[in-house]
Each structure stands twice: as structure tokens, then as C-alpha cells.
């Protein structure tokens, strides 16, 4: 789906969302009457310092404007890989965007990530993975790292990696793997109105408690994470 497709499907009653060189921002009136802040990254644009600072600015501005919920539309590349971005401290810019979304989610409006295209690595961490609920649209292609790069780093062939990927969802790119891990809460049905599915989600939002590890355990993608975290938490609470 293109950005225009997604916007039309999500907001049939209209919106003023603009795409400025891959930085998406604007608002849309939902069926409930609430005015949502819509931000995101489009056209597989890399997320660098220039993009991140604008997106976090929109999030912070929305607090005073009382807009919400916050929808984060994602079709990005990975983080921008450049000398300049690292020189200027890209890690802080990406962390700040994530923090803005997390703060919004905890104090102002719930945040929903809508992954409709690509995303990877640091870009995914600062956008979709920093929301309360991450939704996948069929056709989305998230990755932590692409398989060819992974093959180079692990010194395995693509074929060997693909073979291993058949037996575990833990490393290979793909929406279904992230669903099984607990990262993506739900994949929408592209034969049904996205606006209706968004309304249904908003009417039934989980609370702000991060349960992705429990979800990963339920779905069989992560069998250790929730248990280990709970054991450490328990030991720490009872330590003296």
C-alpha cells in the first residue's frame, strides 16, 4: 500500500496529513470525533537526525493541542547510515523520538503504530516499537536486518539462513515472525475497512502495561523472555 492508500483507508472522512520528503505529519478526525495526531515515515525514507527531530517535535506539540490518539505510520528504511548522523549523535535523536512517544502513551494519548511498508533496526525501535500497540498491514516487510547482510556477518550462505528460518521465527525478517514474537499485536485484514478496524482497536485498547513478552510466550515465539524477566524482578524485589 502507498501512503495515500493508507491515509484514504484509515481516514475516509478526510485528513490533513502531509508527506514532506518522507516525514509524515498532520491530523485526522476519527469516527469517535477525536482528532488524532498522525506522524510517520514514508517512501522507505531513512530515519536520520533531521527526520527524527521533526517527528518528536510534532509529538511534543500535540500535548498542548490536546490531540490524540497518536498514530505512527511506518514505511521506512533503517536508521540513516551516514557519518554526519553518527557525528551529531543519532542515538540521542532516535531515543528522544521513542521517549516522546512513550511519554505520550503514559501521560496523554495512547499511541498506535501502523506498519504498512518496510522498516528496520533503529528506525523500527524509534517508531513502531515505541508505541503501545503495533499493528501490521498485510504486505508490510519489517526486518531487524536483511538476510544478505545477516549472511555476510554470520558467514553463512543465504540458503543456510533461509533453511534455519524455517524452524524458528527468532531472526528472519517478516511480519508473521514479529507477530509471533509479540512485537506486532495484530495484523489487519486488508479485505475489511481499515477505518473500522482502527475504530475497533481504539474502542478496545489494552492498557499501558507492556505485555509484549507475555504475548510472545503465548504465541510460542519467545519462550524464555517473560519468565526470565519475572524471575529477575522477583529476586530483585526480595533482595536486601
Amino acid at each position: 500500500m502507498t501512503l495515500d492508500d493508507i491515509l484514504t483507508c484509515l481516514f475516509p472522512d478526510g485528513h490533513d496529513v502531509k508527506n514532506d520528503n518522507g516525514v509524515v505529519a498532520g491530523s485526522a478526525t476519527l469516527r469517535s470525533g477525536a482528532e488524532a495526531l498522525v506522524i510517520g515515515v514514508a517512501d522507505k525514507t531513512a530515519l536520520g537526525v533531521d527526520e527524527a527531530i521533526r517527528l518528536s517535535g510534532h509529538v511534543l506539540d500535540s500535548f498542548a493541542q490536546g490531540r490524540g490518539p497518536i498514530l505512527v505510520l511506518v514505511d521506512s528504511d533503517s536508521q540513516r547510515m551516514s557519518k554526519r548522523d553518527e557525528l551529531l549523535g543519532l542515538n540521542e535523536f532516535l531515543a528522544h523520538l521513542a521517549k516522546s512517544l512513550i511519554y505520550a502513551d503514559m501521560h496523554h494519548q495512547p499511541t498506535i503504530g501502523i506498519l504498512y511498508g518496510h522498516s528496520a533496526a533503529g528506525a523500527l525501535l524509534a517508531t513502531g516499537l515505541a508505541t503501545r500497540v503495533l499493528v501490521g498491514v498485510p504486505g508490510a516487510t519489517p526486518a531487524v536486518m536483511d538476510l544478505p547482510s545477516m549472511a555476510k556477518v554470520t558467514k553463512l550462505s543465504m540458503e543456510a539462513l533461509q533453511e534455519k528460518a524455517k524452524s524458528t521465527p527468532v531472526f528472519a525478517p517478516g511480519l508473521s515472525n514479529l507477530v509471533q514474537m509479540g512485537a506486532v499485536h495484530v495484523t489487519w485484514n486488508d479485505a475489511v475497512s481499515l477505518a473500522e478496524q482502527l475504530d475497533a482497536l481504539l474502542a478496545n485498547m489494552p492498557d499501558a502495561h507492556d505485555r509484549r513478552d507475555a504475548l510472545g510466550r503465548e504465541r510460542g515465539g519467545r519462550l524464555k523472555a517473560a519468565e526470565i524477566a519475572e524471575r529477575v524482578r522477583d529476586l530483585a524485589l526480595h533482595s536486601h
Partner: protein, 314 residues
């Protein structure tokens, strides 16, 4: 089965001042950073909670999955500590490794009064468990911000051989404050990855001086991307941790807004600089090209004079 693994005091007095943080193991860093004999480990190696995913790749496991977490005392006051072993799988985040830190942060949120020290030493996500590692990092960021909003202080220490890369760099950006040494590096993409993707003209990964000017401790300190610079000793990091714990407060909207201003200002001031030397020159440093060779104590004075920190803006 779940009783913590207590560490006996193993080191003679004064070792912390003469032991390189960079060269020490995670275990040694913790033992020498904290008050002697005070550390109790949670899910230590004798629990054998190894990664379930390395067998698929025929790779060796480590009993603690490359991270030491637990509780100890710093100058008599309780602290939670997590220390990554940068030499095991590059200190990378896997499912179990990440979960140990998440549990610690969730406990810290409930206790509020016990700060968290994180000794970063990581290349980022462990590729063999990429999805689990990436998700663990996202959960760590969430848990850390929830803890900080409840009032917990989280201080990051960066000076290990793997640096603080990838998702580790994002987690570092969520801490209350950071201390860094000369060997420390903080970035998102590693030098080789930038070169592979964009070519050697964009970034020559074998130019060590370039790597350190761009991502290393001194640039981070001068930019205010890290708050304290220390020499590469465990004592130096201990002192830095104490200093920062005394300075930081809870996270709130004012800090978030101040950070937006701090980062936007940095972009405005230095966004067209070609190299770190240009940034330092713009900051008013005379002979900026000599910064890399400046000894720690002189560099610390210079950095403090320039005065960029993230105080109340991180």
C-alpha cells in the same frame, strides 16, 4: 534454585584505581566498581540460563548469556547493576540477556529508591536472535522510561571494548545520564556497516582516528551526548557513577521538552560540520585537532569549561 550467587571479595585494596575498565571482564568491573563484597547476582551462571537460539547456529553458549545483573552497594547505598560482557557475542542483546535487564528495571520501578547502573558493552542486537533482541531492546526502553518517570535514576557507563552500538545506543539515550571514557564509543550504525552500505568515501571503517573522533568518548563528552568523561579505570567509573547519581532527578515533561531544544540547537549549531574537529573548533577549542591526544585530566577540564551536558535535558 533461585538463591542469588554471592560474590566473595576477591581483590586487594586499591585495585580499582589501577585496573582498566576497558580490559576487565563484566564480572571484574562489577566487583571492583561496587563496595567490596557487596554484590549479589540474580540468575547467575550456576542457573545455566543460556540462550535457546545459539544451537541452531552451532555456536557456544555462555552460562549467564553475557550479562551480569544483581544488586550491591555504592558508597554504602544500594544500587541495581547490569554489566554486559562485550567479548561474548559482541555483548549483543539476545532473548535471555535482554530479559535479565528488563526484570531489573521493572523491579527498580516498583522500589523507586534504588538506582540502576548499566555498564554497556554491546554491538546491539544479536543477529542470531535478531527479532527477540530487537524486541528486548524496545522493552528495555519502555521499562526504563517507566522507571524514570516513577523517579528511578538510571546511569549508564560506557567504556568497554564493544562500545555502545545499535539498539544499545538508543537505550543509552534513555538513561538519566552517561559517563564515558576514551575507549568508549556510542553510535547506532557501526563503522563497517556504514562503509558497506554507503562506501568508504562516506566512512572508512579502518580509519581508527576517524571512528574515535566521530563516535568516541571525547566527541560525545564535548557534544554533551555524555555528561562525564573519566579515565579508563574502574575507580574513574565508580567516581563518575557517584557524581551522576548525586546530580540526576526524575524524568518529566520539562526534561523531554528541554531535550528537544538541546538536540535542535545541536543540529542548528553543528549540522553542517564535516568532521568532529570542525565541531570542536566551532565550540571555541583552540588546536581542536589535538583533542584526541589530550590526556584525560586536561580533557576533562576543557570539557567542563565548554560545559555541554544533558543536565535536565535527557
Amino acid at each position: 534454585m533461585t538463591a542469588p550467587f554471592k560474590h566473595a571479595a576477591q581483590f586487594p585494596e586499591g585495585r580499582a584505581s589501577t585496573t582498566s575498565f576497558n580490559e576487565a571482564s563484566a564480572r571484574t568491573r562489577v566487583a571492583l566498581l561496587l563496595d567490596a563484597g557487596s554484590f549479589v547476582e540474580f540468575i547467575g551462571p550456576e542457573q545455566r540460563e543460556v540462550s535457546p537460539h545459539l544451537k541452531v547456529f552451532d555456536l557456544p553458549e555462555q552460562f549467564n548469556d553475557g550479562i551480569v545483573v544483581g544488586r550491591g552497594r555504592l558508597d554504602g547505598a544500594p544500587v541495581f547493576v547490569a554489566a554486559q560482557e562485550g567479548r561474548f557475542m559482541g555483548g549483543a542483546f539476545g532473548e535471555v540477556h535482554g530479559a535479565k535487564l528488563i526484570g531489573l528495571l521493572r523491579a527498580a520501578r516498583e522500589m523507586v529508591s534504588i538506582p540502576v547502573l548499566i555498564l554497556f558493552d554491546t554491538g546491539g542486537v544479536r543477529l542470531q536472535e535478531a527479532n527477540a533482541g530487537e524486541l528486548a531492546i524496545a522493552e528495555i526502553m519502555r521499562a526504563m522510561m517507566e522507571a524514570r518517570m516513577a523517579g528511578v535514576k538510571v546511569v549508564g557507563l560506557i567504556g568497554g571494548r564493544s562500545g555502545c552500538y545499535g539498539g544499545g545506543g538508543l537505550i543509552a539515550g534513555c538513561c538519566s545520564a552517561l559517563a564515558v571514557s576514551e575507549p568508549g564509543r556510542i553510535a547506532v550504525s557501526g563503522p563497517e556497516v556504514i562503509e558497506t552500505n554507503r562506501g568508504v568515501e562516506e566512512f572508512d571503517s579502518r580509519d581508527r582516528a576517524l571512528v574515535w573522533r566521530t563516535m568516541g568518548g571525547k566527541n560525545r563528552r564535548l557534544l554533551g551526548a555524555a555528561d562525564v568523561f573519566t579515565d579508563d579505570t574502574i575507580q574513574g567509573f565508580r567516581d563518575a557513577a557517584l557524581e551522576l547519581l548525586g546530580l540526576v532527578g526524575a524524568f518529566d515533561l520539562d526534561k523531554l521538552k528541554a531535550e528537544q531544544v538541546r538536540l535542535a540547537d545541536r543540529l542548528r549549531s553543528f549540522g553542517t560540520c564535516e568532521d568532529a574537529v570542525d565541531i570542536w573548533t566551532a565550540e571555541g577549542v583552540a588546536h581542536a585537532e589535538s583533542i584526541p591526544d589530550l590526556p584525560a585530566d586536561q580533557f576533562i577540564s576543557l570539557a567542563n569549561k565548554i560545559g555541554r551536558t544533558s543536565r535536565d535535558a535527557r
